[in-house]
Amino acid sequence: MIEVHDLSKRFPDLQQGEIVALDGVRFNVGPGEVFGLLGPNGAGKTTCLRILSTILTPTAGTASIDGRDIVDDPDGVRARIGFLSGSTGLYDRMTARETVEYFGRLYGLDEDRLSESIERIFNTLSMNEFADTLNSRLSTGMRQKVSIARALVHDPPVLIFDEPTTGLDVLVARAVLDTVATLRDEGKCIIYSTHIMREVERLCDRLAIIHRGRILAAGSQRDLLAASEQPDLEEHFFDLVSQFENPVNHDTTTDAGPACEAGS
């Protein structure tokens, strides 16, 4: 469903020349799977997901979603993905229902399908109470539900979550995680980026550890833990990052480098 080959992104910077935000990233994700993108802030997770959702164009490499190339057919890609990030804003002067209706119409849903889809999603996420309240009056948790509904309205086969629990309290964060799990069970292909280990441990079948634009390690949780001498994912993650930062102090045999293949 999602295939990413050697994706790179460089930003021109007049003062510093160039910033490498993504360097030869490759992975693929199948249906019914949650792929975790684990990395600290500024690792390149958001850049990678923005490229996959065609907001940014890659400097090098290719990627396709559900068989559509992100550069050659961006319109086709956008029609097949649902995107949700922790920083996604909502139009304050619209109600929850209007927001979801608006995006549903942009996705080309006819009115029957739209109202059916809205009813289903609003029931699942128990949003009917505030469906006709202006977004500006909603709480953070309610707003995130509206965003989820917005991302799901056209029933996309691929879902991209970019740190969707940022700024949410424990209860709402848990609800979001439950929703992701449900969607996985429905057979969606999901890519989930986060810097929180527990979320990865709970949700992801496979994951990639990303740092400074490179994938340092990738595979299933069990594989990753088996390859390292660390007791848990967090220690392993910390170990990889510090190895990358100070390569001389460490054994270089585990250095996977940018070409680390995360095939299924």
Partner: protein
């Protein structure tokens, strides 16, 4: 890349409807667009009416001494001048006259009268001082004394509250009667009886007193006229004797046309202001606001394409811009009409020419709203997209407003009229056309400008829209991070992180030096030239030209390049060109010269007169055959070729050049090249050539072909002025070139045809020129 899909109108409609509804739910927008105009003008109208009531003119105090000596006819009517002496009878109430010898005077009035008497004494002293001596070369102590008296009288007048003091000399009536008697008896006396003392109207320099004194003066004038006519009657002569000509000024303007003149000035200004305001605030909210609230990302991920988003947003802004303008104009028109009626019913004689424009005028206003609104909507949207936040967006309003107001002021200046060149300028064209159309809605010669004005305006709107779309495609604009600006850090970076080629900032600095330097040098240069002997002036001007180009173009570019960038060779495209490229450049110059010459000849009607006659003559002598050819070739061909090419095709072109955006860089550098030429027709001409020169530089990757083109092109122009080519050509040459005493040399169509073919072939070759490898 697959073929671009067509615009999805359905998506544009969905986004447009949402944006429109969103704006209509925004209280700030609604207030700016709807509430403000609907409330503002009536409120202003009421305010003005109230002011008129509160600040109605207070009657001014006139004190008259010696009123008992007034002759008939009756000047006074009780405590005021008789109304018959005023052209507007209501003016009589604006002056109260206090005279001596009235029984029921108030204490203040009595005090004023005594003040008046002391002022009169001072004035008599002053008259004595002036009368006894000639004032051509008065002794200094006398001048001092006079100044002291003047000051004293002025202060007394001010302090006493007397606005105008009228002094009728004693026995004035008797003196007049004496003359009357002489007239009646037709007696001729040896001495002229006109030496009797005359009345004096004294006034301080105070503005209000001056207005009052003018009224008093007019009263005395008409009174004097009547006196004169009575005398004529008494002498048995016609009353019309003193005014044998009495030419009448008859103003024949329809009241509608007159009001059109007023509206013609006022409406375009309001139209421009309101289309800008109506476009700007929604645009900031729709573009910068979207970024600020984090909804931009969501919108970009939706299936709507970016061009569809921009068009939908543009349409929304256009609706608000148009609505604001229409509502403002309607509200203003209705308020003005109501006020006119109100004032008219109270005072039917008051002249008010503020009737609303006729229907045809209204239709023209509505038509002209569209190009203006489209232009400003597109510009505002582009600026707002560039802004990171709504606050930053709002900062861009003032520079936009200042430029727009300058254009509006330019349009309002009486010298600027609707003519071909002005009609295609942004903002100026629509304003001038509307002004004409409001006065005369059906004039054929005005209507002929309509397609040009509308066409140019929509082209500008289209360009601005294209800019907005390209902003929406630019990742660096859409995802600009808020950064903290630190001047010291910035300066340090400029030094430590030198880029290989200059950036846009460097190019703009360089252009600003060139442009402002020219303007700044103009005055001192002209002064220096006029201080020289006339025979030396032309030669000095030529050397000044050489110096100016080196100082303003070459030197700044070179200095900035050596200090700010690392790759001077790449910046100035210094690598050698192939002989083929040089040959193509020289051939292209030779082929394009007659064509461009002919084009400019054909377009002469379009451009306003550039230089004043005197300067043109001077330019002719300066560049004429009296100067040695080598000097002219140096000053007009070689120096500009080197200086301008290094600046425009070197520094500026490299600064704007980005991979895949070479054409944009060529256009920008050509426009900059045009801009420094200042005079409209030269700006056009230079921009045109700048495009060719930019193409040469980009395609060959070297500065030398452009330099060759520039030198050859200008060289031909110099030589063409000097040599009488037909004489040196064989007989068959006269169907190529002809000579005329008035216009000088001109090219005939066979030569133009050949030149056109040659130019087309060479440009084609240049277009397909093998792309130069990078010479980093």
């Amino acid at each position: 890349m697959t073929a671009r899909p067509r615009l999805d109108l359905r998506k544009i409609r969905i986004v447009f409807q949402r944006e429109l509804r969103d704006q209509l739910r925004d209280r700030r927008t609604l207030f700016m667009v709807m509430a403000l105009p609907v409330l503002l003008y009536p409120a202003l109208g009421i305010g003005m009416l109230q002011m008129a009531v509160v600040f109605s003119e207070k009657p001014r105090t006139v004190v008259m001494l010696g009123s008992e000596s007034l002759p008939s006819p009756q000047l006074m009517d009780g405590p005021a001048f008789a109304t018959r002496w005023f052209s507007d009878p209501t003016d009589a109430q604006r002056l109260t006259v206090e005279t001596t010898g009235r029984s029921n005077t108030s204490p203040e009035s009595a005090e004023r009268l005594s003040d008046a008497r002391s002022i009169r004494k001072l004035f008599d002293q002053r008259s004595e001082l002036i009368g006894t001596d000639d004032l051509v070369s008065p002794p200094p102590e006398k001048v001092q004394e006079l100044q002291r008296l003047n000051e004293l009288i002025n202060v007394r007048l001010r302090d006493s509250g007397i606005d105008v003091l009228v002094v009728i000399p004693d026995g004035f009536a008797d003196s007049l009667q004496e003359v009357d008697r002489l007239i009646a008896s037709r007696a001729r006396t040896a001495e002229d009886p006109s030496g009797y003392p005359r009345p004096v109207i004294l006034v301080s320099g105070n503005e209000k007193s001056l207005i009052a004194s003018r009224r008093v003066q007019r009263v005395f004038d008409s009174w004097e006229n009547e006196l004169l006519r009575l005398r004529l009657e008494a002498a048995g002569l016609p009353r019309s004797l003193p005014s044998p000509v009495d030419a009448a000024v008859v103003k024949i303007v329809g009241s509608k046309q007159e009001s059109a003149l007023v509206w013609g000035k006022l409406y375009p200004v309001i139209l421009v202001l309101m289309t800008v305001t109506g476009a700007f605030y929604p645009a900031v909210d729709l573009a910068a606001g979207e970024k600020e609230r984090g909804t931009m990302e969501t919108l970009l991920i939706s299936p709507a394409r970016r061009i569809e988003l921009v068009l939908a947003k543009f349409l929304t802004v256009l609706v608000f811009s148009t609505a604001t303008a229409v509502l403002n104009l309607v509200s203003l028109g209705l308020t003005a009409t109501y006020m006119v009626q109100l004032v008219g019913s109270v005072n039917p004689t008051a002249e008010m020419n503020l009737a609303p424009p006729p229907t045809s005028g209204v239709i023209w206003i509505l038509i002209m709203i569209l190009p203006l609104a489209a232009f400003f909507s597109a510009i505002s949207l582009a600026l707002a997209t560039f802004a990171r936040s709504t606050r930053e967006g709002q900062y861009y309003l003032s520079p936009l407003m200042i430029i727009v107001m300058l254009l509006v002021a330019l349009a309002a200046s009486p010298g600027v009229e609707l003519q071909p060149f002005h009609s295609v300028l942004p903002v100026l064209g629509p304003i001038l056309l509307l002004r004409e159309l409001l006065v005369n809605p059906t004039a054929a010669e005005t209507l002929a400008y309509l397609p040009a004005v509308l066409g140019a305006s929509f082209v500008y709107a289209g360009l601005a829209l294209w800019w907005a779309v390209s902003q929406f495609h630019s990742e660096s604009v859409l995802f600009r991070e808020a950064e903290r600006f630190d001047l010291r850090l910035w300066a340090k970076r400029l030094w430590t992180h030198k880029p290989p080629v200059p950036g846009a900032g460097g190019a703009i600095t360089c252009l600003a030096i060139g442009l402002f330097g020219q303007v700044l040098l103009m005055q001192p240069l002209a002064g220096w030239l006029s201080s020289l002997a006339e025979s030396d002036r032309a030669r000095a001007a030529i050397w000044a030209l050489v110096g100016q180009q080196i100082l303003l173009f070459l030197l700044p570019a070179w200095l900035l390049a050596t200090t700010l960038v690392t790759d001077i060779r790449r910046t100035f495209r210094l690598r050698l060109a192939t002989p083929g490229a040089i040959a193509v450049a020289a051939g292209l110059a030779a082929a394009l010269h007659p064509l461009v010459q002919e084009l400019m000849q054909q377009l002469q009607w379009f451009f306003p007169q550039g230089l004043p006659e005197g300067s043109q003559d001077f330019l002719k002598t300066m560049l004429g055959p009296t100067q040695p050819a080598w000097l002219l070739l140096l000053a007009v061909a070689l120096t500009p070729a080197v200086c301008e090419e290094f600046l425009f095709r070197g520094f500026v072109l490299s600064a704007f050049d980005r991979p895949g955006r070479g054409h944009v860089a060529v256009v920008l550098s050509a426009v900059a090249f045009g801009a420094v030429h200042m005079i409209p027709h030269q700006v056009f001409y230079a921009t045109l050539l700048g495009l060719v020169l930019g193409l040469l530089a980009i395609r060959t990757g070297s500065i030398w072909p452009g330099l060759t083109f520039h030198a050859v092109f200008n060289g031909i122009a110099v030589l063409r002025e000097r040599w009488d080519i037909p004489d040196t050509l064989p007989a068959w040459g006269d169907w190529l070139i002809s000579s005329d005493a008035d216009t000088g040399l001109s090219y005939d169509w066979p030569l133009l045809l050949i030149a056109a073919f040659a130019a087309a072939a060479l440009l084609g070759a240049l277009w397909r020129w093998p792309s130069p490898g990078s010479d980093r």
